[in-house]
Amino acid sequence: MGKINSSQLAAAAGVLLLAVWPLIFRNQVQFHQVLGMTCLYAILALAWNIYALSGAISLGHTAFFGLGAYASALLNHHYHWSPLCTMPLGALAAVVFAVFWSLGFRRLRGVYLGLASLAAVEIPKTIVDNWDQLTYGSMGIVGLDRLPTLTIGGVEMDFGLNVTAQYYLLLGIMLLALLLHWKCIRSRWGWTLRVIRENETAAAALGIDSNRERAKALMLSSYLAGIAGALYAHIMGLVEPALVFNLHLSVLPLVFSIFGGSTMVFGPVLGALILYPLEQLFLMPLFPMGHSALYGLVIILTIFFFPKGIAAWLPAPPKSV
């Protein structure tokens, strides 16, 4: 690690800014909440992008989000385990579904994979909606435990009901996810994924088992998406099928990642940080009906004018993989 380049500096500055701004704007709790949710959706976007690195565009990541949310909710509701315990366990439910997905969609590529992922959401959604004995069906589950209060270094942080503390928690988890994402791109495995993405035949010639590597990416992606879902369940304190199995949740990570730059480490995060607060804080008061049109517009413009995402406009690091 020789000299620090400009993009690393920019990254460090960005992280510092994210950590420090709530201390300056102490009273604007509304912003803390919005930025907290931004971090949550950024985690989901990073999760989605890990799978996209292998060349697979998924239109059904809400299935993983919802499964993670419900599994964590059920564990919490029936056994009263702490969310710190149920969230990592609950996300495993998403991975189980990912296994079925890998087996079933083995031979699918490109568009058909996307369509299959879109259709596949119906399966967990309908099962959860109709399995009344286990999931309470359409009624959903209320009264979930909030995120706990922890004492870190002598400071008591109520992650459940203190929005500012919650923001820092979500920021922290997002940074961890970002680290994971970075590893997925700048590593030998990341290089493997890139080969699969660019040219599967060449990958096969190099002795890479595309299906296996893609499945690995999916496992990771689904687990992270499940974590995001579980976090959501415990932040809101309730789950309902229509709330967590939702097309909007499939589309958001796609828009954030493509807009931000799917091949860039910071791409999905950048997309989330720019678009979500923009929609919530600026567009929403102006256009109470239909402000989500922003995402549609953004994705169309992105594909036409800057398919590599806006992160491509940033100075590229000297060594690229």
């Binding site: 604007q28 709790v29 509304q30 069906g137 359409s138 009624m139 209320v142 009901l161 709330l243 239909g290």
Partner: protein, 404 residues
């Protein structure tokens, strides 16, 4: 003559000063009086926007009505309305902002429980009273939350409906069709439990996702099962389709009853003559109000029509009732010369007893409305006629019309 004029002038000046002082004396306190700030969170956009807007208008009307009377205990009321976009995370967001930044005295509004629940949690945590306009589920009021109150609840719909079916219609075999939403599902469960207790049998039950266009296959199953009455937990558009398909293929039912969407003049207008004989449930309607509250109800309807240029309906009235409750509690606290704190207002709410057009409003220990009971109506000659309970009935059940 000069001394007379100057004397008159002095007197005139004195009178003018006194007059000025008098005017200042009455207006200055009002101008200097601190406004009472109320926060309102409703789905004003998103898929729940229609009922959300109606609740909003009811609340707005109540606040303006209070201000027209000189405010609450002389202090004007300011309503800060926020939109939760039909999403829970935005509801939490807005609640936080209203509580911390706007420092509201109380919260009001809300449509479904996925939106009401998170707001009630924030209210409890920060000791701000919250009167929800429309919340049905049991579990919401389950945990003891001394800051949460609601003006409606599921039992107020289910109990009259089940009693009507067993006592008046005397049906033993019913079928329930409900939507895959939390409120509708809980409604179905509750109805089944009540009917079973009363000795009736629910022979068929089915659930559909909102947006389903066709119920004809489900309806086909009713005659072989000898179903006497069909209960629909669907909403306006679902009932439109159901009624149309029942007309296309009559099944020999004794009755069709739907608590949501039917007891509206707009439904009657849309469906036309095919709506004759259908049963619905109603909390309040411009023609249907609690005995003794006719004047207040008429005044409300007239005033609302004037301001919004449209008819108020039961949803509007729920918003109005919840706002009236909050305002009344605040008034009580101020008149008792107490401090306007969250605890004081919540205590006042807990002891409230108001005679309102929709209900006699008093809350029990869980914040549930003690006396909220809807009435059963039948559409006769294109009007809503109350047929149950007997003490509120304005007409008799027309069994031949009801048959489908």
């Amino acid at each position: 003559m000069k001394p007379n004029i100057s004397l008159a002038g002095v007197w005139l000046r004195k009178i003018a000063c006194l007059l000025a002082l008098f005017i200042l004396g009455t207006t200055l306190p009002l101008a200097a009086a601190e406004k009472i700030r109320l926060g309102e969170i409703d789905p004003l956009s998103g898929h729940l926007a229609k009922p959300g807007q109606e609740i909003h208008q009811g609340i707005l009307y109540a606040v303006e009505e209070a201000n027209a009377r000189g405010g609450v205990a002389g202090r004007p009321v300011e309503l800060i309305s926020r939109d939760d976009q039909s999403k829970p995370e935005v509801a939490v967001n807005q609640a936080q902002d209203l509580i911390f930044r706007q420092k509201v005295t109380g919260l009001v509004g809300g449509y479904v429980d996925s939106l009401v629940g998170p707001i009630s949690q924030q209210a409890a945590r920060n000791r701000v009273p919250y009167v929800a306009s429309a919340s049905l589920q049991q579990s919401i009021a389950g945990n003891k939350n001394p800051y949460f109150f609601r003006v409606s609840r599921l039992e107020g719909v289910v109990e009259p409906l089940c009693r009507f079916l067993t006592q008046t219609l005397k049906t033993r075999r019913v079928a329930i069709l409900h939507a895959a939403t939390p409120g509708s599902s809980e409604f179905s469960d509750s109805v089944q439990a009540h009917l079973r207790q009363a000795g009736s049998e629910v022979v068929l039950e089915d659930k559909f996702r909102p947006g389903s266009p066709d119920f004809s296959v489900f309806l086909l199953k009713l005659p072989p099962a000898r179903v006497e009455a069909l209960i629909s937990g669907g909403f306006y558009a679902d009932n439109l389709i159901l009624v149309r398909q029942l007309r296309e293929r009559p099944l020999g039912l004794k009755a069709f009853i739907a608590p949501w969407g039917v007891a509206y003049q707009s439904f009657i207008d849309e469906v036309g003559p095919a709506s004759e004989g259908l049963f619905g449930a109603c909390a309040w309607d411009p023609g249907i109000t609690r005995p003794g509250t006719e004047k207040a109800s008429q005044a409300f309807v007239a005033g609302f029509r004037k301001k919004f240029r449209k008819e108020p309906n039961t949803t509007t009235m729920h918003g109005y009732t919840s706002a009236r409750a909050l305002l009344a509690a605040i008034e009580q606290v101020l008149q008792g010369a107490g401090q306007l704190t969250g605890e004081a207002v919540s205590r006042a709410l807990a002891h409230l007893d108001l005679q309102l057009p929709m209900e006699r409003l008093a809350f029990d220990a869980h914040g549930d409305p003690r006396y909220y009971q809807q009435v059963i109506v039948q559409i006769q000659k294109q009007r809503l006629v109350v047929v149950y309970p007997p003490e509120r009935a304005r007409g008799r059940v027309d069994f031949s019309l009801a048959a489908r």
